[in-house]
């Protein structure tokens, strides 16, 4: 079965091409870095580790939103929901002194609840997903702020008590985060392409009404996609704090775009019905590499914003061109 998944991804030239893009970008930054910043070197292992830190949470966000985009919807709340999870769980850990395992569960549950809210509003109340998720983005931001009284929260650093969650990112010299992300991607791929709910989610994106008229309870499955997305945003928060420790309230929406960019770059169609988990995974790596590279060149994060915006635009234009041709 795993072989099958692998086969699919290697055979598909598009996905293979994406890997090449990843390598080319890596080499490009390697060449440019000494030019922009004499004396510095991009080809260091620490750079890769730092990029991976960024790739983990983006990867989890992107995997989640792939499900929603597959149904033809969108979720703009994932970034702020991730932050709300990190803030609320962090506050529980640091301020209310709850046990760590419980806090990690809380983080996931917060994400899950937002997924349920979005899913219910979109599937059962027929709200457009973009407005729904923008609204819940506001709610998530506000909730995070209120819960922490507008204070930032710092999760315990390595070595202190209650810091074993950091082993989820890196255990000794093993990049456990990468392993966990890949395992999650495999599970997502299996779920989306090999099981009934996954099939229904993809079919919804193709033609929701036809699916409904085939006797499928579409609402349930559409909601499920949002719930998975929310849950993975909760999971992403653990990897965010595992890498960066401090979370500020009121932020997080920039990550939406990066996660969505990873999806569309990877070949998931904004029109729905077509998805690639492998593509999303590589897309997340590319996004992480871009952000690491931009910082290495000495540019501010603002350039990352502009670049992500352009990437999404270009990827969507290419995809919609494909669709128009095929019609």
């Amino acid at each position: 079965m795993k072989n099958k998944l692998k086969q699919k991804s290697v055979v598909d030239f598009n996905k293979f091409g994406l890997l090449i893009v990843l390598v080319v970008i890596y080499l490009l930054f390697g060449i440019l870095t000494p030019i922009f910043k004499p004396g510095s070197n991009f080809f260091q292992f620490s750079r890769i580790l730092s990029a991976l830190n960024y790739a983990y949470f983006i990867g989890f966000l992107a995997l989640g939103v792939t499900f929603v985009i597959s149904t033809g919807g969108i979720d703009f709340s994932i970034g702020p929901v991730m932050f709300a999870s990190a803030l609320i769980a962090g506050q529980c850990l640091v301020y209310y002194k709850l046990p760590l395992w419980l806090c990690l569960i809380i983080a996931c549950v917060v994400g899950l609840l937002f997924g349920i809210l979005n899913g219910y509003m979109v599937a059962y109340r027929f709200l457009p997903s973009f407005v729904t998720s923008m609204a819940s983005m506001q709610i998530a931001k506000g909730l995070g702020s209120v819960f922490t009284r507008t204070q930032s929260v710092t999760w315990p650093p390595r070595g202190e008590p209650n810091s074993w969650f950091r082993n989820l990112i890196k255990f000794g010299s093993v990049p456990t985060g990468l392993i966990l992300l890949m395992v999650t991607a495999l599970i997502c791929g299996f779920f989306l392409f090999r099981t009934k709910p996954g099939r229904y989610i993809l079919c919804l994106g193709s033609n929701k009404e036809a699916v409904r008229l085939s006797g499928v309870s579409t609402k349930k499955w559409e909601m499920l996609a949002f719930v998975i997305c929310g849950l993975l945003a909760g999971v992403a928060s653990i990897f965010y704090v595992g890498a960066y420790a401090t979370v500020q309230p009121g932020l997080g929406d920039a990550f939406n775009n990066e996660a969505i960019a990873a999806c569309v770059m990877g070949g998931t169609s904004m029109a729905g019905g077509k998805a690639s988990i492998f593509g999303t995974f590589i897309g997340a790596l590319i996004i992480a590499l871009l952000q690491e590279g931009i910082l290495a060149l000495g540019f501010s994060i603002s350039y990352q914003y502009v670049l992500t915006g352009l990437i999404v635009l270009i990827a969507v234009i290419i995809d919609s061109k494909k669709n128009i041709k095929s019609v």
Binding site: K196, S206, E209, A210, V211, G215
Partner: protein, 497 residues
């Protein structure tokens, strides 16, 4: 004879994978109604879209008033006086009647749009043809028939020299059709050239002067209406003599059990107090004009829309069908009139489409057994004679007839006993039509029961064992196949309270 105002010569048009038109000729004369006929897919609409600048031709010439022309968009054609009344009405529901008529060429008063003048002009136009519609009414509030009249008024208002009517009567009542014909006669008297696309023979005989026939994208010939018979025209259209003879008698034994009984079904103002029953092995035809409430009735039975009241009795037991899931579980399948919107996932392959209604049967240990899906799909490709390179093919690459068969396969795999075919052969070419008919006969012979909604009277008379006729949401009659005639059906289909 009257003057030729427009000639199309050797028109060619190629779509990806299909040669839509090859070397087609057409001649339109002033003060004349030219019927353009042909089976679905013969190329009538494509030709008219080329004429009115919606499509570009690949080659060929169009000569209009002695000059060779080329319209790059609909506006250019309109400005030259060539307009089309589309089959699917193109109305902006949120604007008023007058605003719709003059959209794209509003009267202006400085920067401001002169709505008053537009209302006045629209009124004048309506008066001219005795149309009683308030120009200030919102378009969305009008009936389909009235919208059609507005569309025609709009066409006339372009100072048109040529007007194309694409199946204008599909949604009209008998009374409205006569009104339309009066308008067309007046336009003819004013020297306007018209192209009239329709499938209805009696209309062709009533209103047109000449008939041009297309078949499979090719020009077959042009004849004078008065001098030709219905059979001649049909022969030109199909290229061979097919005897679409009506069924003589019902194939259903008198003591056949009733599988479905519908009692006093109501839904909004589209379905009013509809009752009927369906016997095992029967094809029950549903006839009526567009908007008669047939599709709505089917959708309510299938659970696609919620009913207001009424009961559905399946195999002697009253059932509650809340949603399509219930209907499918109970063994009912619905084949929509609009396959692409409601029946198929075009960008999915054959087996994904076929297994959709019964995916549970393909799941073992919560994994979809794709091997089994392919196997079952392949079997149906063979048994239904679906022409496709393979079951992994995207459905959008199949022809209309084969797409319809994919939908049929979906319901066969889901083990449906009652199949509701809504316009089973719409958009399907002649040969494939025959196959669909045979398929439906095979299905009832195997003990399935079929409700067939159709707007084509020949189809109704040929396939049905019994016929239910509806008009404006009500069942206006029921005919056995032995007593049914086109005239009787039409009479019931236009019978209002």
């Amino acid at each position: 004879m009257s003057d030729v105002i427009l000639t199309m010569k050797n028109i060619n048009k190629q779509f990806p994978g299909v040669k839509a038109l090859s070397d087609v000729d057409l001649e339109i004369r002033a003060g004349e109604v030219l019927a353009l006929m042909g089976e679905n897919g013969a190329g009538k609409s494509t030709l008219m879209k080329i004429l009115t600048g919606i499509y570009k031709r690949d080659s060929g010439t169009i000569i209009y008033n002695g000059e060779e022309i080329e319209f790059s968009n609909p506006k250019a054609a309109q400005d030259a006086g060539i307009v089309i009344v589309h089959q699917e009405l193109q109305m902006v529901n949120h604007l008023t009647v007058a605003q719709n008529i003059f959209v794209g060429r509003e009267f202006k008063n400085g920067l401001m749009i002169d709505d008053q003048k537009m209302n006045e002009e629209a009124k004048k136009l309506f008066d001219l043809f005795e149309i009683e519609i308030d120009p200030k009414e919102n378009m969305g509030n009008l009936t389909v028939g009235s919208q059609q009249l507005c569309e025609i008024a709009k066409a006339i208002s372009f100072d048109a020299k040529i007007i194309v009517f694409d199946e204008p009567t599909a949604a009209l009542t008998e009374h409205e059709i006569q009104h339309l014909f009066n308008i067309i006669r007046r336009l003819r008297d004013r020297g306007i050239g018209m192209v009239y696309i329709s499938h209805r023979m009696d209309e062709i005989e009533q209103i047109t002067d000449r008939v041009t026939v297309l078949r499979d994208g090719e020009y077959v010939g042009t004849i004078i209406t008065e001098e030709s018979t219905k059979d001649e025209i049909i022969n030109m259209m199909v290229g061979r003599t097919i005897f679409e003879e009506p069924k003589q008698f019902s194939n259903v034994p008198a003591d056949a059990e009733t599988v479905l009984e519908v009692k006093n079904l109501n839904q909004g103002n589209r379905v009013k107090d509809v009752s009927f029953n369906l016997k095992k092995g029967e094809i029950l035809g549903f006839s009526g004009l567009m908007g008669a409430g047939r599709t709505e009735t089917a959708r309510v039975i299938f659970g696609a829309d919620k009913k207001d009241s009424g009961s559905i009795i399946l195999n002697g037991k009253e059932v509650e069908i809340e949603n399509p899931t219930d209907a499918v579980t109970l063994g009912i399948g619905y084949l929509s009139e609009d396959r692409k919107r409601f029946g198929l996932m075009l960008e999915k392959n054959l087996y994904e489409n076929m297994s959709l209604a019964s995916l549970d049967d393909f799941v073992s240990n919560s994994v979809i057994n794709e091997k089994l899906e392919r196997k079952i799909a392949s079997e149906h490709v063979v048994s239904l004679n679906i022409r496709t390179p393979g079951v992994s093919q995207f459905v959008e690459n199949l022809s209309g007839g084969n797409q319809q068969k994919v939908v049929v396969a979906k319901w066969l795999i889901a083990n449906s006993d009652i199949l509701i075919f809504d316009e089973p052969t719409r958009g399907i070419d002649v040969g494939a039509k025959q196959e669909i008919y045979e398929l439906m006969n095979d299905l009832v012979n195997e003990g399935k029961s079929i409700i067939m909604i159709s707007s084509e009277l020949t189809e109704i008379l040929r396939m049905s064992d019994r016929i239910v006729v509806m008009c404006e949401g009500r069942k206006t009659g029921e005919l056995s196949i032995e007593e049914a005639t086109q005239e009787k059906i039409m009479h019931l289909a236009t019978k209002r309270d």
